[in-house]
Amino acid sequence: MKKINCILLIDDNMADNEYHKIIIKKSGVCDDVRVVTDGKKALEYLENTGKKNQPELFPLPELIYLDINMPGMNGFEFLEAYKKTAEKLHSKVVIVMLTTSLNNIDQIRAEASGEVDEFEIKPLTEDSLKNTIEKYF
């Protein structure tokens, strides 16, 4: 099984984040899982990854799991900001929208943004994680 260096979880639900960390750990595809609780903090994190003096503090994620409903900056707002500020990352990072939303419109919006590679419904399962790794890495 392929392994990747870092996965970033962007979600305000800490129970979900912990569960997803367990799932990722159990699947064995990645040992370094980073967590931020809203879009703004995610942007800050991504900016810090460019700074070469602290690569071990802010490793560049290869895969991002992005929730939609978050306080502060939500998933779609993050995508807008991400488009503008972090052009160099675009081709390197795979973004999966991971949400409880059963609304078709959210999926359509996600696809329309041009940044989202997959749209998945919570919870993250080992199977779906493995499929994503297979598909993109």
Binding site: N13, Y19, T100, S101, K122, P123
Partner: protein, 554 residues
Amino acid sequence: MLIAKTNKTNEEILNILNTYNYFLNNSSAFLVILNLNGYAEVISPSFLNLTGYTEKELSDVKFYDFLHPEDSHTTLKEIEALNPIKQTVNYINRFRKKDGNYIWLDWNASTDLVSGKIYSIARDISLHKLKEFELEKNQLRQLGLLKTLDAGVVIHAPDTSIKESNPKAGEILGLSEEQMRGKLAIDPEWKFLNEDKTPLLLINYPVNEIRLSKKKLKNKLLGINRPNSKDIIWVIVNGFPVLTKENEISEIVISFTDVTEQKKAEDELKISLKKTEENEQHLILKNKEFEEINKKLNQTIQDLQKANQEIGDRIKKETELLMQTEMLGHINKELEEFSYIASHDLQEPLRTILNYIGLLEEELSGKIGAEGDQYIKFINEATKRMQQLIKDLLELSRVGRNIKFEPVDCNKIMKEIVNDLALSIKDSNAKINLAELPIIKGNELEIKQVFQNLISNAIKFRDKIKQCIIDIKADEKDKEFVFSIKDNGIGIEDQFKDKLFIIFQRLHSTDEYPGTGIGLAICKKIVNKHGGKIWFESKPQEGTTFYFTIAKTN
């Protein structure tokens, strides 16, 4: 004497005397011979008879003493003036009779120079005098009447010139009697007018009318434009002709009364009456107009009020309806939003529970004993059931969110359903009889869901001791299609009729028939959204028929 002077024989003289005596005694004429002293010498018996005296009584007293005191003086003078040349003719005086009354006598007398005797013959004219007095009195009376009469009287000659007139006539005509005398009634100075104030034709002048007709004229109303005044005098004229025996007009008497004041009053009365009448007429007309207008107004007002009322009612109704609709829409929207958000948000903790129960199950399975495993299983099942309920609630809340209506071919969706349910149809050995179904207007997904839910139910609640047969057909009505899905399943007890379409209403335990009880609630909501109704007829152990209608136009 004549006799003495003649050479007559005695016989001849006797004859003469006889003749004289005979004449004296038998003549009806009153013969009296007075001597120079004024005593009567000879008195005819007829005079004695007339006066009532004896011959002696008359002879012994001076004849003049019998005369009326007023007449004696003039009589004496008359006698003194007598001479053989001048005779007295028709001298009239009054003579006292024995009874004291006077009689009027008309004397002819003569005298002779020799004897100086007066030979007189009298005629009793008392009757004539009486008539004369009477006439005089009448004349006086008439004159007085004329003078004091409050009517003008004019007496015309046949040529219409005025012979006489009374003061009132002058007063009315504005002329003195003197001025009037001799004027012709047809004097152009006098303008007579008809009642309508047009000039009166000459031929119609009262005097002319009478002159021509020789008949009375009665109560002719005339206006007179007086020669010396511009005022119009109104008079009522009466008149008559005085005719001779030959039926010729000797005079024409006209009388007229001034009725100017009355006429004026009458005219004013007429004018005011006419005005009043006109006013009344006008008023009546106006009144009628007003009545008409009033009537129309009332009608209009009534119409308006009615219209107003109707509009008001309609507005009220519509407003109420709008408000209700708006409120309902609002409530509905809120409810939908609520159920959507709630179910969405409710999912989260449930999912978290499930996630961690899954982890616990993995970690602890077989380590916490059979009871522990069972507990975890119950938590798991309850949570999953909760998740299903929320999913159903979410699904129900979604109904009607999709407002796009398009033609839906029911035959096509029925084929899809049969395909989708192929496995359960095969398992249950159900037979579906499909009639030709119409193309309706609606939301395809939702319509499909109705059919699918109803068919699934028919299979699910089949009677396991007989083959499940489902008949599906549609009846076209005026404004809608009535679909029916008939099964021969276990049927529904009558007591559940009202509860069946309520959300999460279940008639059986989940062990017997799994499900949340959302299916019919969703059907009802979809059918309602399509302007239709849903109901069923059922007999336990015989089967159930579900009916639903879909309106032809939405």
